[in-house]
Amino acid sequence: MNLLEVRDLQTHFFCDEGVVKAVDGVDLTVRRGEILGLVGETGCGKSAIALSIMGLLDPPGSVVGGSIRLGGVDLLGLPESEMAKIRGNRVAMVFQQPQSSLDPVFKVGHHIVEAIRVHRAVAKCEAWRQAVELLREAGIPDPERLAHVYPHELSGGMAQRVMIAIALACRPDLVIADEPTTALDVTIQAQILDLLRSLRAKFGMAVIVITHDLGVIAEMADRVAVMYAGRIVEQTDVRSLFSEPHHPYTQGLIVCMPRLDEVRARLTVIPGAVPSLMDIAPGCRFASRCQARVLHDMTRCMEAEPPLEAVHPGHEVRCWLYDRAASAEPAHHGPRGAGAGYRLGLGAPADSPANGSPAGHMPAGRDSIPHPLLAVTELFKHFSTGTGVFRRGGGTVRAVDGVSFDIREGETLALVGESGCGKTTVGRAILRLIPATSGTVLFGGRDVLNAGTAELKALRRQMQIIFQDPSSSLDPRMRVGDSVGLGLLVNGIKRKERDDAVIATLRTVGLEPYHARRYPRELSGGQRQRVVIARALALRPKFVVCDEPVSALDVSVQSQILNLLRDLQQELRLSYLFIAHNLSVVNHIADRVAVMYLGKVVELADREELFRNPLHPYTRALMSSVPSTQPSGGRARIVLNGDLPSQRDMPSGCRFHTRCPFAQERCAKEDPLMREVTPGHSAACWLV
């Protein structure tokens, strides 16, 4: 018997504006001990399914139809008191934000003890003993001590391990992990995924992994269900999904994901955005964005919604392309099996030279270039963390600890690293949004850090910034046009000229003039990010700091924005400092890449060279931590030990040595400097 059977689940949210049909008829099956991956983008309803199973839906959401059977028992019919006995006991959940999921006023161990004692008649001291054991199982070092600390003292990775320990407290049959690693750094993500896999092997529970990251799915899942707009559109085992994706949306997701291993000049996109779940048009929900429909000129897609049908045993697809009843055209069944006939641009981009290098790119060169546009030398930024007016009693956080690089005109330098490495601080210090502690920044030969007010204003016209989070980068009470035109206003441009310039800039980024009168909340995430780009471009700068501009966007929108940035770079001869934590995104836009760790640059090289031949152990670990979309059930990878050291308490010598799998004695004593290992490729490591 299956462990979990969800049949025709319908979960609706009754909001003021209308009814959002978040889950609109979903069937899922989970067998004992298997890992089911549930993948989809924001708003597709996957979290709503998890909450429906757990019975944790709060108003205005409620389950309006269908059934959820756990080991034969219908969960939807149970009263709250009975459901509470099942939660945490037979089904447990791990949430996306581990630190905020722990109650800040209770100790870490208390959470586990509570989970145990709610379901089992166990004495308090025995429960604490079990709690410590569970923490140990979850890979927490020194569990006796950590059980008695408060949640805010934990890092993200540690907190997630605690959440996992809590989830396993009563040996549940099923664990639902809702985006368990999305909020974590890539290297920590790798640790957590490893942990989940090993615990599953040990305890044999079933897991539902909910994520938007196909790489995580490839690493973890046995079977996969792809969701779009409240429906399952494809469901099969993980190998088949990646080798023979049938549904156009699945194909689109796989293809427009930034990849480490393939370089394409231009990312393929899925045009448009996820439709609103309130007024659902008849027909297939993906039809408006489906390129297959256009390619094959199919009218049925707009009229009726296809049912979920098996094209092979164990492989179900919801798409008219595979409708058996219709007269199947041979074109649908290509040489590689059903549905492979019209592969979306994989490996053969239609609109750029297929030479793999980003267009508008200068030939590879050395690090110190004559006449660079931007020259950063020995940049330092230290924060003091004392309290009170006089900053007493604290230490120093060495956020940026001696960073140097150059950027040429028209080129993109990517600055990559995980949280706390200082990359964001570098971007802001260069633009003097925060004062640097020391160092030199020369823009076109002019000193930025010491410029006077008037000169700074002139420089600011040429150096701009794009932020990560579109929702906080725009003032919600200002119209789009006013936000974009603020820089022009500051520089004294008159209203008529300003309005014209704003409209022109909006057009450049792919928006329409009428968007100028809208408020940010009326736009989608991708549109808002375009506005942020427009605002940066309004003053016609030559250099733009892009601070994680696509991290907060859905995969299908990411590729649109990345393409836009590249087109703009070509058109307007822009230079970018592209800050990211995601190496695969960087693969599609960077000319050269600098990798940062704890305030220092540890490796710097041309993009191709870096990806082909990474030298520094951290770079190699970073690359191997990125979940690959070639499912191989966890290939040999470099997993780093432990957490990031505190920035107040830097390790001696090479600051990476505490986590480096190749560390030697010398590494703990002396801090290596950046050395050019091959022309154009520098690294800071004793081992290369």
Binding site: L56, A84, F95, Q97, S100, Y150, H152, I166, S384, T385
Partner: protein, 315 residues
């Protein structure tokens, strides 16, 4: 924590000097002549002989220049000598102490009543938002906040003292005397605390940790009483402490109406009689008390909330 305490209280002397300046010079600004005030307090005569005035001035050292007088007053204050009342000639310190004891009892009872009534009401309202109990409490809290306490006092006296004769209308000689004043004063705190508790509990219920606690198997009700309330108490406790600081002088009208010899009434009489030493020392005393209670409230906030982090790094 000790560092925080010291940092906050270090500000106190500076503040006190500042306040003392104000308090000292305000009556002078208003054109009050201390000598006249002293005389009026003892003798009803409105137009005293100027010779008598000069003599008194010289005796009491009131003919020295004002800044010198301020400094010597400050110095005496620091030593704990708060001066003598113009009216009763008793030491001010003693009068203030007695008054404070009475007010503290009144206010203490009042706040205790308020907490015991309001906090559970607030939690219950948060458990079922939008239902009739919640709406009732919402309306009740609005009404409570807008009610003039002097009006309620008069109405209560009218009903229970005059019409029904159950309770005495004024005085402070036993539990029966305490009922109406405490009830009158408790209206507004109950309204505020219930509202604040409800808001704090609802806020706590929105926390990710609330949902995670339910995911562990606690029922909704239990999660509210154990997790949400514990988090909600943090702002509520601070609020109660602030009210305490405010009510220690803010009870003046109630004390006047019910004839309760608390610190409010003491100061009220002092103001009417232009009893300068009492007014000045009293104000400085009450302000210091307010600052100390404020600081303790902040400390409580930190103590109850283990998640206070180090301050953000500042450039």
């Amino acid at each position: 924590m000790a560092a925080l305490l010291i940092r906050r209280l270090a500000f106190l002397p500076v503040l006190l000097v500042f306040v003392s300046l104000l308090v000292f010079f305000l009556p002078r600004l208003a054109g009050v002549d201390p000598t006249l005030a002293i005389l009026h307090a003892r003798v009803p005569e409105r137009n005293p002989d100027p010779e008598v005035l000069d003599r008194i001035r010289a005796e009491l050292g009131l003919d020295r220049p004002v800044p010198l007088r301020f400094l010597s007053w400050l110095e005496r204050l620091a030593r704990g000598d708060l001066g003598y009342s113009y009216v009763t000639r008793e030491p001010v310190a003693g009068l203030l102490r007695e008054g404070l004891a009475v007010t503290a009892t009144l206010v203490g009872l009042c706040l205790a009543l308020a907490v015991v009534v309001a906090v559970p009401l607030g939690v219950v309202a948060a458990i079922r938002p939008g239902k009739w109990l919640d709406n009732l409490i919402a309306i009740g809290s609005q009404v409570g906040v807008a009610v003039p306490e002097y009006w309620i006092a008069l109405l209560l006296i009218l009903l229970f003292a005059q019409r029904l004769g159950w309770l005495p209308s004024a005085g402070w000689r036993g539990p029966a005397y305490m009922v109406m004043p405490v009830l009158t004063l408790a209206f507004r705190p109950i309204a505020y605390f219930a509202w604040a508790t409800r808001a704090a509990v609802i806020e706590a219920m929105r926390m990710d940790s609330f949902r995670a606690a339910r995911a562990r198997g606690l029922t909704r009700t239990r999660t509210i009483w154990v997790h949400a309330l514990r988090n909600a108490l943090i702002p509520v406790v601070t609020l109660v402490a602030l009210w305490l600081a405010g009510m220690l002088g803010g009870s003046v009208i109630v004390e006047v109406i019910f004839g309760i010899p608390g610190i409010g009434l003491v100061l009220y009489n002092a103001v009417l009689a232009t009893d300068l030493p009492l007014i000045q020392a009293g104000l400085v005393f009450l302000i210091s008390l307010a600052v100390v209670i404020n600081t303790l409230a902040d400390l409580a906030y930190v103590a109850l909330n283990p998640a206070i982090r180090l301050s953000r790094p500042q450039p």
